[in-house]
């Protein structure tokens, strides 16, 4: 049984210009111990999807307008707030993009870890503190006993992200949602943090939902990948399949815009810009920027269709050409 099953998730933000559909008809599953990468441009709905799973979308203006999110067979959207709190930080944990601002500046890092342990494990102060120190050791922070008494401003960005990971993993979650965990860090620190996440996943056996706009990170860390565009998943499958033989024109465009050693000097780009969420085009969301456009694209909203071996893509053009080509 899959750990997390998201069905037809739809999250809407009510703005002064009308409703903005940040996440629309999103479907995906994550199995136990698996890493699913979610890639896409800024504003494509990756983070809102994550916050929807945690039920942390700010309401108002945001609201989850439809769909189900099943975690271990229970729909988290149906849970009472106390039941949801028991899940948050315990079974599903989350780390955020900005380590510099994600820790409370007036509380020691040890306290911020111990707090989660105490909440979900119901242990005493001393025991929780010891657990916090142990977590700092696990995320490879030197001299964890002393560091636990430090305030966030006394730590570097990489260290703070390690602390965030320590908080997230302190209660041994089954699913870790990592929302661009390395975007704010420089490249060497990024590699360290990703290595750490990978090794901790193997050791603790948790599943990871890895949100990023960095295709390289996905290729390195994830087994499967979902590509999002303007609130929808446009393609999903095993990382090697999707990156090796992209079906959706957007995925092709993304991969085509990667710099390659020995490639052309001028990078290929996807023409146009991401449409505003309050002014999405009819039919396919990507049609205003698509290079493989046909007349039907403005009339039909493409659904994710099965291409075999776990591959899915939402593009009517690909459907026709692939079928005609016998793929």
């Amino acid at each position: 049984m899959a750990l997390l099953v998201v069905r037809n998730l739809r999250t809407v933000f009510d703005t002064s210009e009308g409703p903005a559909v940040a996440v629309d008809s999103v479907n995906f599953t994550i199995d136990r111990g698996e890493t699913l990468g979610i890639v896409g441009e800024s504003g494509c709905g990756k983070s809102v999807t994550a916050l929807s799973i945690m039920r942390l979308v700010q309401t108002p203006p945001g609201r989850i307008a439809g769909g189900t999110i099943e975690f271990e067979g229970r729909d988290v959207l149906e849970l009472s707030e106390p039941d949801m709190r028991a899940l948050r930080g315990n079974d599903i944990a989350m780390i955020f993009q900005e380590p510099m601002t994600s820790l409370n500046p007036v509380l020691t890092v040890g306290y911020q870890i111990a707090e989660a342990v105490q909440l979900h494990r119901g242990v005493g102060n001393n025991e929780a503190w010891d657990a916090a120190v142990e977590m700092l050791r696990l995320v490879e922070i030197p001299e964890p006993g002393e560091r636990a008494g430090n305030f966030p401003h006394q730590l570097s960005g990489g260290m703070r992200q390690r602390v965030m990971i320590a908080i997230a993993l302190s209660c041994d979650p089954k699913l870790l949602i990592a929302d661009e965990p390395t975007t704010a860090l420089d490249v060497t620190i990024e590699a360290q943090i990703l290595d750490l996440l990978g090794s901790l996943r193997d050791r603790l056996g948790m599943a990871i939902m890895l949100i990023t706009h960095d295709l390289g990170v996905v290729a390195q860390q994830a087994e499967r990948v979902a590509v999002m565009y303007a609130g929808r998943i446009v393609e999903e499958g095993k990382v090697a399949d999707v990156f090796g033989d992209p079906i959706h024109p957007y995925t092709k465009g993304l991969l085509g815009s990667l710099p390659r050693i020995g490639g052309p000097r001028r990078l290929a780009t996807i023409p146009g810009i991401v449409p505003r969420l309050t002014e999405l085009p009819s039919g396919c969301n990507f049609r205003t920027r698509c290079t493989e456009l046909i007349d039907d694209c403005s009339g039909i909203e493409p659904e994710l269709e099965d291409y075999g071996s776990g591959r899915e893509a939402a593009c009517i053009v690909a459907r026709r050409t692939r079928t005609r080509g016998g793929a």
Binding site: L56, F96, S102, Q112, L119, F151, M164
Partner: protein, 324 residues
């Protein structure tokens, strides 16, 4: 930390010297003199009386000499004597007035904090709700109403119409005949109106400040982190948000120190409270140079010390400012 404290205290010395200089200069530049005030309307006092008085008060000497005499006495803790008829030491007059003003304002500030912080937190966590709008209207009514007018209305209603509270002053006529508990109750009864009214009128600033500070904080990433841990809203609000939101309030407290010491001329005049505001006002009317300068120097000194204390409070509350 100790070094920081010592440098800060050392830095106060030139400031204080500047304060004495400016106080002295401003008063001597102002038109009118205490002697004129005493003799002009007295047909019996001729120029020779004026000269005698000037000599007596030391006003016949050149200004730099006057300043030097005053400052050198001040350095020894001698604030001089009042020019007014009682000729009492300035320090005694300040000693009588300061505790009254301080007590009044500290009490009113305490009430403001006790009411404004919860209002601010509530307004921020329930932004645009009915309660938020209602409290906003409430605090702005207090802000917009002229305090002297509101004070008179309250006196009319509570003291004259209902007869629950005394009209003015700090003590009843029979104060000395009362028991100890009775005396305390008597003063408390006299303080209710001035404390509540000055509190009500300054509620808006503090509560709106608290609201915006809290709104700023609950948008921060670490609040989301706290929620993602599974903490309930109460814990998120009070343990994670409130402490951060209170930091800017310390600045506001530091800024309110001069008001705490200086007192309000309007409130003290309306309620006939013998505080610093009234003392200062009367001393200016009487051109009582030593008293004016004494009040200025004393208020400045206490304000500087208060600001230093506020800075230290900052360091205690915000670990980022603590020296490692």
């Amino acid at each position: 930390m100790l070094r920081y404290l010592l440098t800060r205290i050392a830095g106060l010395v030139p400031l204080l010297i500047g304060v004495t200089f400016v106080s002295f200069l401003v008063i001597n530049l102002a038109p009118g003199s205490p002697v004129e005030l005493m003799t002009d309307l007295n047909p019996k006092a001729g120029p020779e009386v004026q000269q005698r008085l000037e000599k007596e008060y030391g006003l016949d000497k050149p200004l730099p000499v006057q300043y030097w005499i005053w400052v050198s006495k001040l350095a020894r803790g001698d604030f001089g004597r009042s020019f007014q008829q009682d000729r009492r030491p300035v320090l005694d007059k300040i000693k009588e007035a300061l505790p009254v003003t301080l007590a009044l304002n500290v009490m009113s500030l305490a009430i403001v904090l006790c009411v404004a912080i919860p209002i601010g937190v509530y307004s921020a966590t329930h932004q645009y709700s009915l309660g938020d709008r209602a409290t906003t209207v409430f605090v702005f009514v207090g802000f917009a109403m002229p305090s002297f007018w509101f004070a008179l209305l309250c006196i009319l209603f509570f003291s004259v119409h209902l007869g629950w509270l005394p009209i003015s002053g700090l003590r009843s006529f029979d104060h000395n005949a009362l028991s100890d508990v009775g005396r305390v109750l008597d003063i408390a009864k006299h303080l209710i109106l001035p404390v509540c009214i000055s509190g009500f009128t300054s509620l808006a600033a503090m509560s709106r400040y608290m609201r915006s500070s809290m709104l700023e904080v609950i948008r921060q990433d670490y609040i989301n982190t706290a929620r993602a841990k599974g903490l309930d809203e109460r814990t998120v609000t009070f343990r994670h948000a409130l402490r951060n939101a209170l930091l800017p309030i310390i600045t506001l407290l530091g800024l309110s120190i001069p008001g705490l010491i200086g007192g309000s001329v309007i409130m003290e005049s309306i309620f006939a409270i013998p505080g610093m505001g009234r003392l200062f006002f009367q001393s200016i009317l009487a051109r009582d140079y030593p008293l004016i300068m004494g009040v200025l120097v004393m208020s400045s000194m206490l304000t500087l010390i208060g600001n230093l204390a506020a800075d230290l409070m900052y360091a205690v509350a915000d670990p980022r400012l603590r020296k490692r």
